[in-house]
């Protein structure tokens, strides 16, 4: 079993590992690497960093080999996804023309993610059609296949001058296909590759497509994958949208495949799709994508571009695109306003429907007043107070925050009672606030860790809290240094806690500005009535945590029920 092949002279020196001299290190490395590759084969997401942390002495070897593993696996998997068909008719080798059911396939006219499009002739009706064959490998399971067929059938009922009509959905030899109207022309992507469009042309195309999308929405069909390559420009004719809802499994699958390889470019994807928040994907997600198409048509590039899909995804979530006028200085301000309105990250700040977008584009084309101009200020305010995309993290914290409010209340009440009992020992108070709350903080953090891996943003939050605890703890020695009576500096508690909420307002949700303001006000009240300071602070601070805690706890429960 040790019959190694003749060593390759180019590599023998660095990889002279025969089984006789294999070191313990290599044995362990081999075991870990094999497990990782097993994970990849099972379709799990294997996190190199976590494994490197578990085996620090193997980390450098693993890091150097892992890329080769992933790249080889992706290559092998791609090979595998070529469907193994019964008979010799693998359709990559399909010799055209060939007949499938009622269709005579004439030539291949395009390839997309899901399959191949052929120009074909429908025999019984003697008409020219396009036939799209779906790769079976793209549909993971029978359920996926059924869903695809159902979705295609729903799309087939859509009738609109700006939607490419689907004629027929079928299944040939286990391979689903559908036929649709053959459009002789080019895609918008082809057109844009030659440069941006004149403003009015771009507005016309997108307004028509938006009408088509609007009609689909009224029939309950979302497109989910609007992009220039799905918009067909018939020769001398109208723009039409195709490929409806076929990317249904998008979102989370788009971002990272099981092997950790990054696939897909979410350049036209709405933030809610990029974040995989499927529950939030709706008509306004299509509005966002239409805005991206319009942006691209006007500015000559997609709104957000990045070197890697992951980076792009982060930008889609976090960054606003450069204003279109930066890229095209003579762009009409109204048209820019329309684009910006579509590209709002919060869905409810966009046009409520594709039809509203179409209305506004038509208003622009007719030199009428557009609706995107109104309500700018209220939008700015609304944006200030809304949740950021990190807010979902708080769902992990809801229950803990409610407990935290109780802990705070107990600390404050005991301080107040001690104060009533005329205790003046700095040590006693200091112990309540540092040891007592410190112990609670430890418990808190352990409870949180038990819920699952801690995200980066949560670590930041934990640091803010730690800073506030350090601040509170320092009040007692400072009072002692300055020879102030104990608890003199208590109003600062309010200030410190308010700062925590100000930071959280930036990170999670503008709603926390409310807590910030209330706590600042509380600190003043505390200063004015020192004998009730801790009582007041305890109630207010507990409320500040309890209310959002309850809110996010409920949100989590609702999410789990769904």
């Amino acid at each position: 079993m040790n019959a190694a092949g003749p060593p390759d002279p180019r590599t023998a020196a660095s990889t002279a590992v025969t089984q006789s001299e294999m070191s313990l290190h290599d044995q362990k490395l081999a075991e870990v690497l094999s497990e990782m590759t097993d994970g990849v084969a099972r379709g799990e997401r294997v996190d190199l960093e976590i494994i490197c942390r578990q085996h620090p002495n193997l980390a450098s070897d693993l890091r150097s080999l892992w890329g080769a593993v992933l790249v080889t696996d992706a290559t092998g998997t791609a090979q595998r996804e070529i469907p193994a068909e019964s008979g010799s008719g693998q359709w990559r080798g399909l010799s055209l023309p060939t007949t499938i059911d009622d269709y005579e396939l004439l030539e291949e006219i395009g390839r997309g993610g899901m399959g191949v499009v052929f120009r074909a002739r429908q025999i019984t009706l003697d008409r020219e059609v396009a036939v799209k064959m779906i790769l079976r490998g793209r549909l993971a399971s029978e359920a996926d296949l059924q869903r695809f067929l159902a979705e295609a059938a729903a799309t087939a009922r859509l009738e609109h001058p700006h939607i490419v009509p689907i004629y027929d959905v079928g299944d040939f030899d286990g391979r689903p296909y559908f036929s649709m109207k053959y459009i002789d022309g080019e895609t918008l992507a082809d057109r844009l590759a030659r440069g941006p469009l004149p403003q009015r042309t771009a507005a016309k195309i997108v307004s028509k497509i938006a009408r088509g999308i609007g009609a689909a929405h009224r029939h309950g069909v979302l497109h989910r994958d609007i992009k220039p390559s799905n918009i067909l420009l018939a020769k001398g004719g109208e723009p039409m949208i195709t490929d409806f809802g076929l990317a249904k499994q998008e979102a989370s699958q788009h971002s990272l495949t099981s092997s950790g390889m990054v696939l897909g470019t979410p350049a036209y994807m709405s933030p809610e799709q990029a974040a995989g928040r499927r529950g939030l994907v709706g008509p306004t997600s299509d509005v966002y994508s239409l805005g991206c198409v319009l942006y691209h048509a006007l500015a000559g590039r997609a709104p957000l571009i990045a070197d890697s899909p992951v980076e792009l995804m982060l930008k889609v979530l976090e960054q606003d695109p450069p204003p279109p006028r930066m890229l095209r200085p003579n762009l009409d301000r109204d048209l820019e306003m329309i684009v910006v309105r579509c590209l709002q990250k919060p869905a409810d700040l966009r046009y409520a429907s594709a039809d509203h977008l179409a209305d506004d584009l038509e208003a622009f084309l007719n030199d009428e007043r557009i609706s995107a101009r109104s309500g700018r200020f209220s939008q700015v305010v609304a944006r200030l107070f809304r949740e950021t995309h990190h807010a979902t993290v708080l769902e992990n914290w809801g229950l803990l925050w409610m407990w935290h409010s109780l802990a705070l209340l107990i600390a404050c009440l005991s301080t107040w009672l001690l104060q009533q009992a005329d205790v003046t020992s700095r040590l006693t108070y200091g112990t309540v606030w540092t040891v007592g709350l410190g112990a609670w903080a430890m418990v808190f953090w352990m409870l949180r860790r038990r819920l699952g891996p801690v995200t980066f943003i949560e670590r930041q939050t934990a640091h803010v809290w730690a800073a506030s605890m350090a601040g509170v703890g320092m009040l007692f020695p400072l009072e002692w240094c300055m020879e102030l009576p104990v608890l003199t500096l208590s109003p600062v508690l309010g200030v410190i806690t308010s700062m925590v909420f100000l930071v959280k307002a930036g990170m999670f949700s503008g709603a926390f500005y409310g807590q910030f303001a209330v706590l600042i006000a509380t600190s003043i009240v505390m200063a004015l009535s020192p004998e009730y300071a801790h009582l007041i602070f305890g109630v207010v601070a507990a409320g500040c945590f309890f209310i959002p805690g309850l809110k996010y706890y409920r949100q989590r429960v609702r999410g789990e029920l769904r």
Binding site: M1, A4, G5, P6, D8, R10, T11, S14, T15, V17, Q19, D26, Q27, L29, A30, E31, L33, S34, E35, T37, D38, A41, R42, G43, S64, L65, G67, A68, V69, V71, T72, A74, T75, G76, T77, A78, Q79, R80, E81, I82, A84, S86, G87, S88, R92, G93, R111, G112, G113, M114, L135, G137, R138, A247, S258, M261, L263, G264, T265, P266
Partner: protein
């Protein structure tokens, strides 16, 4: 989603149990379930030059026929997992086919074809593979990915037989280390060592070739 080319084993076990009871229908189902994977295996692993001369379907047919004949013996004494057993039969048939066509295949040696490239048809394989990986690749990115896949496949061809074997088993057939060990008659630490060595060599070659083409 597990990537192994073989169907999930729960149902296989049920069918095997039924087959042992003498359920003819279960035997049919069992073999039917494995027909496509066997075809995949043959397509992946049968020498490309030989594939131009024999019909893959014929090989698959022969494999399934023999499996059917030997199934009773297997049921009485299941020495290894069913798919590995089937794989072994397929393997023997591929070696057979290779021997029978070696002579004519050798004639093609001078126009050496790598794993991927049996002319135009297979060219589009890689193209398709590239696009399959990613519905929204730009043409440039698709080309880059295609190039990468070709690079990897050419590099695999440079490995010696033993290394290539294990790389293909692990990353094309997506067998687990345990399965590889069983199929090769090794213990699992030895199989994992062999894999480590192969991946190391592959990496070296990928890198040195990459640098060569850079310069």
């Amino acid at each position: 989603m597990a990537k192994s080319i073989w169907p999930q084993s729960d149902q296989t076990e049920t069918l095997l149990a039924a087959a042992r009871e003498g359920d003819a229908d279960a035997v049919n189902q069992l073999l039917d379930r494995h027909r496509d994977p066997v075809r995949r295996l043959v397509q992946l692993r049968l020498d490309r030059r030989v594939q131009q001369r024999v019909d893959v379907s014929d090989v698959v047919q022969d494999v399934m026929f023999e499996a059917n004949g030997r199934l009773q013996a297997y049921l009485d004494n299941p020495v290894m997992a069913f798919h590995l057993w089937l794989r072994q039969i397929a393997w023997d048939h591929m070696i057979d086919a290779y021997r029978r066509h070696r002579k004519s295949a050798k004639r093609d040696m001078d126009r050496e074809q790598p794993l991927v490239a049996a002319g135009g048809a297979d060219q589009s394989t890689i193209e398709l593979a590239g696009q399959l990986c990613d519905p929204e690749l730009t043409p440039q990115a698709a080309a880059a990915q295609r190039e990468l896949a070709q690079h990897v496949e050419r590099t695999i061809e440079l490995l010696d037989e033993q290394d290539r074997e294990i790389i293909l088993m692990r990353h094309y057939e997506h067998l687990t280390n345990q399965e590889v060990a069983e199929a090769l008659g090794l213990n699992s630490p030895a199989a994992s060592m062999r894999y480590l060595r192969a991946i190391r060599r592959l990496r070296e070659l990928l890198q040195s070739k990459g640098e060569a083409s850079d310069s």
